[in-house]
């Protein structure tokens, strides 16, 4: 009974892992980079690097721009510049769900050149830039990851011993399997936590059995009650004049007891308009979702959310654990390193699958299921890092005045990924794809700080180190560290077994 249970768990691990492995890799790379999304946002806006974030927020400047762009939006939302990301950001969402976003100079209130920013990786991480269907796909991938982790633990009779076993000089499959085990077991508590909290964040969308039973399926009513958010229906009458937002900040901070981080205006064209303020999540593990609301016309105080109940606090705690806004830079680095370990775990796991079936893979040829797995492995695992690097280069090289500059950065990301994947899939049959893509990535990673120095000297390493802007300098230095790692992967001498295999492949008719 035990043997067959282990066997079926091994299959569960293999298939749940393989089915979503590539998707998980993309989600993990996105999430790992998004640990520093605000810092990367800041790095990608060199126009602001000479300015300091002002002490008092200038929400009215952001809302003036929202009014120009989207006068009858469903909601305007503005984020004050802070020490991690100094841009003043203006967002709006229309009634049909369309969104817009502009970053402003926090001092002058003028728009700065657009960028996809670190935000791009954050959105990639949770919905693949594919809206609701993407969010469900990511949820399914997260769930299968949770299942693969549990099955992975169940098949390890020697989980502790495996942790201390790493044989990089061993034959192909053994070394990949050890790499998979080391990163998997080392990061296990983190991976379990991140997979579970990741699906839990969107529980209201993923698992609506409870909301159906208790709230007639109304997610809005559930959240309004659980989080005590203030809402009022639209009247259909036009708003005479929006009360200035900035003068209300002091009162909101007094009521909340913490600095205000963002402001919003719900239905800004309607006489029912509501101005609301909230804070960030940096002071404790659980999200601080409390809001203070004011009348849009008179500025009179309307509502302040009470501290939420046990359920919502638990939910906010899980969400806070996932988003890592609470522990400062040290915690972000820890999450980043564990995220890198996760990327290696997934990539090496996919590689084990191929290595285990080496003979069948070699016989099956390019146009087969095995060929597809080989191509996806190199295209996703080696192609995506190259695309990320290309996007950072585009950020510094695209002209500042380019209209829709953010979309152009994303286009560079997509185009370079497609090209890299095709190149890798074609060359990998000759045993070259991986090395060439890793090599190109290493060169690109070295190029970013150099291009940075040439295109925007005030934002490059000498200047940022001299000014003591360590977060900006850390981006360049981290890229150089990764360049070393990718260079090592590209130049590493293959083991004897791999050399023999390559030789055999080249000699084959």
């Amino acid at each position: 009974m035990k043997e067959s249970f282990l066997k079926s768990m091994a299959w569960l691990h293999t298939w749940s892992g393989l089915l979503v492995g590539w998707l998980l890799f993309v989600i993990f790379v996105g999430g790992t980079i998004a640990c520093f999304d605000a810092e990367l946002d800041d790095w990608m806006r060199p126009a602001l690097h000479a300015t300091a974030a002002p002490q008092t927020p200038r929400f009215d400047a952001a809302f003036a721009l929202s009014r120009q762009q989207a006068p009858d939006a469903h909601v305007w939302w503005a984020h004050r510049g802070d020490s991690r990301d100094r841009a003043l950001e203006s967002y709006w969402v229309l009634d049909d769900g369309t969104e817009g976003q502009v970053a402003l100079d926090p001092g002058t209130g003028e728009p700065v050149p657009g960028t996809a920013g670190g935000e791009f990786f954050f959105t990639l991480h949770y919905n693949l830039h594919a809206g609701l269907p993407g969010m469900y796909l990511v949820g399914l991938a997260g769930m299968l990851m949770l299942v693969a982790l549990i099955a992975g633990v169940l098949i390890h009779k020697r989980i502790f011993k495996d942790f201390f076993t790493f044989r990089p000089r061993a034959r192909g499959q053994r070394a990949w399997l050890d790499g998979h085990n080391v990163t998997g077991v080392l990061g296990l508590p983190f991976h379990l936590m991140i997979a579970y909290t990741g699906v839990a964040i969107f529980t209201a969308s993923y698992m609506f059995g409870g909301i159906n039973a208790a709230y007639d399926g109304s997610v809005e009513r559930f959240f309004a009650e659980a989080g005590d958010f203030y809402e009022r229906p639209e009247t259909g009458e036009p708003l005479q004049r929006l009360h200035p937002v900035d003068p209300l900040v002091a009162d909101a901070e007094r009521r909340l007891g913490v600095p205000v981080d963002w402001a919003s205006v719900h239905h800004p064209a309607d006489s029912s308009a509501v101005i609301a303020f909230g804070t960030d999540h940096s002071r404790r593990v659980a999200w601080d979702m409390r809001q203070v609301s004011y009348d849009g016309e008179t500025g009179a105080f309307l509502h302040q959310s009470r501290e939420p109940g046990a359920g919502y606090t638990s939910y906010a705690y899980l969400g806070g654990m996932h988003m890592a806004q609470f522990g400062g830079p040290a915690l972000r680095w820890l999450y980043f390193l564990m995220g890198v370990a996760g990327c290696v775990m997934i990539a090496s796991g996919l590689q084990v699958w191929v290595r285990k079936r080496e003979k069948r893979v070699a016989q099956a040829g390019a146009l087969s299921g095995y060929g597809l797995v080989l191509g996806l492995n190199v295209g996703v695992v080696a192609g995506m890092p190259l695309a990320c690097v290309a996007m950072l280069l585009a950020n510094r090289l695209l002209p500042a005045a380019l209209p829709d500059r953010a979309a152009s950065e994303v286009a560079v990301f997509c185009a370079s990924w497609i090209l890299a994947a095709l190149w890798g899939a074609w060359r990998t049959r000759r045993g070259r794809g991986w090395r060439e893509l890793f090599g190109a990535t290493a060169l690109g990673l070295v190029a970013v700080p150099v291009v940075n120095l040439a295109a925007t000297p005030d934002s490059a390493l000498p200047a940022t180190l001299a000014r003591g802007e360590l977060a900006l300098a850390a981006v360049d230095l981290t890229l150089l560290a990764f360049a070393t790692a990718f260079g090592w992967l590209a130049l590493r001498r293959p083991g004897r077994a791999v050399q023999a295999e390559l030789q055999a492949r080249l000699e084959a008719p």
């Binding site: 009974m1 043997e3 067959s4 249970f5 066997k7 079926s8 768990m9 299959w11 569960l12 298939w15 749940s16 089915l19 399914l140 769930m143 949770l146 299942v147 549990i150 099955a151 169940l154 579970y196 699906v199 839990a200 529980t203 209201a204 698992m207 609506f208 059995g209 409870g210 909301i211 159906n212 039973a213 208790a214 709230y215 007639d216 559930f222 009650e225 659980a226 109940g309 046990a310 359920g311 919502y312 638990s314 939910y315 899980l318």
Partner: protein
């Protein structure tokens, strides 16, 4: 017991066939989800808490139920059982919840 173990070892699940893997994966995803959904509804009825808290704790537990269901589906002796156990258990839990709509929506 010993005889059964021997038989299992010799027979073993013949997983090679892609269709067999596909059946189990589908049972784990759809059967497992249905059971998790039904458990969420049932716990929203059964937990002795305030309404919002019942919904949240039920939802947060459901992902564990789904993962456990996936393990069961792959460990089950036959594909047939891998389907009917989670679906029947889910139908029972959801059925009970639907019988008491007022109780599930109590404050």
């Amino acid at each position: 017991m010993a005889a059964m173990r021997n038989a299992d070892l010799h027979r073993g699940p013949r997983w090679r066939h892609p269709a067999r893997v596909a059946t189990r994966v589908a049972a784990a995803v759809f059967g497992g989800y249905f059971l998790a959904h039904a458990t969420t509804a049932f716990l929203t009825l059964a937990l002795p808490l305030a309404k919002a808290d019942r919904v949240i704790f039920a939802s947060l537990l459901s992902f564990g139920v789904w993962a456990a269901a996936a393990v069961y589906v792959f460990a089950a002796a036959s594909a047939w059982r891998a389907w009917w156990v989670p679906v029947l258990a889910g139908a029972a839990l959801l059925g009970i919840t639907l019988l008491f709509p007022g109780l599930a929506a109590r404050p």
